[in-house]
Amino acid sequence: MSSVAARVDTDTQLARLLQIGVVLEEVVEVRAHRHYQSLPEAERDDDIEALLSAASEESAEHRELLESVIADLDADSIPFEEVEALVAESYGKTGPEDFDGVLYDQLHGEETAYKFYDDLVDAIEASDAEFGVDREALLATLRDIREAEAEGVEAVAGLMEDRT
């Protein structure tokens, strides 16, 4: 088997990639929450609060969807608390410093998630492997999540535009 092909061939690889997806969602979820807490009072408003809270909730939903597929593949997910602690540890070094930084970080998080699901869908489509979960249902779930990430990118970009 070529190691350069972007293709998912086994349940183990699939479960591992979904675990990475869970971690990406957890990072977005935790950072969105921390972003809001870290904003100075004067920079908080209803729009940014609604955006960050929706992003956090959506990531939690995506995480749960991925976790259910991971469980069907007989693999373990990554405990939320574990990632939460890692994000907290690194937030001092990687956290944005102002309002624009918060929006950019949120935009980056959504764009990264979109790219991840897009590549994952392509890699599953490129493979003929039979997985331990229904292939079409899996692809439908991943495409839905990808679509939601695209909408998330638009929502952040819209808010950024409104503020300029």
Binding site: R16, V23, L24, S90, G109, T112
Partner: protein
């Protein structure tokens, strides 16, 4: 990581190991592809000014190619460290190789936020062990205990 970057990273590492050009056969073995595929990609990379190729000797990365190879190696290090330290995967090397083509560098950058990586990365990559040098050291310490 796209195929071109995987090739550049591998040529760079093989060059480092051999202290000279990377031979087609060795690249084919490391990448799990045929020598014909290596020749084809090396030709494309040469056209793009990223690799120089000398017949019967092998390929070397140019300055531009090396810059790309080092970025790709950094992405690979992030993936290895993430697998080893966050997901606690024992065979992180094999899995990193399998997952590398599906993980984009923007995704790796995001994962990088929650892993501990040395500032000198990727200079500390152990080409012989095909792994982050610090992970190799940690394994050696664990084996001794």
């Amino acid at each position: 990581m796209n195929t071109a970057d995987q090739y550049l990273k591998t040529i760079f590492l093989v060059e480092e190991l051999n202290d000279g050009p990377a031979a087609t056969g060795e690249l084919a073995d490391r990448l799990g592809v045929s020598p014909a595929s290596v020749n084809e990609m090396v030709g494309k990379l040469e056209e793009r000014g990223l690799v120089a190729h000398e017949k019967y000797k092998g390929a070397t990365v140019t300055d531009d190619g090396e810059a790309r190879a080092r970025e790709a190696l950094q992405t690979y290090c992030i993936l290895e460290r993430f697998l080893a330290n966050v997901l606690e995967v024992d065979d992180y090397r094999a899995e990193a190789r399998q997952l590398e083509p599906v993980i984009d560098e923007t995704v790796a950058d995001r994962l990088d936020m929650i892993i501990d990586r040395e500032p000198q990365c990727p200079d500390c990559f152990d080409a012989e062990a095909d792994a982050c040098g610090y992970l190799v050291e940690e394994e050696a310490v664990e084996a001794d205990d």
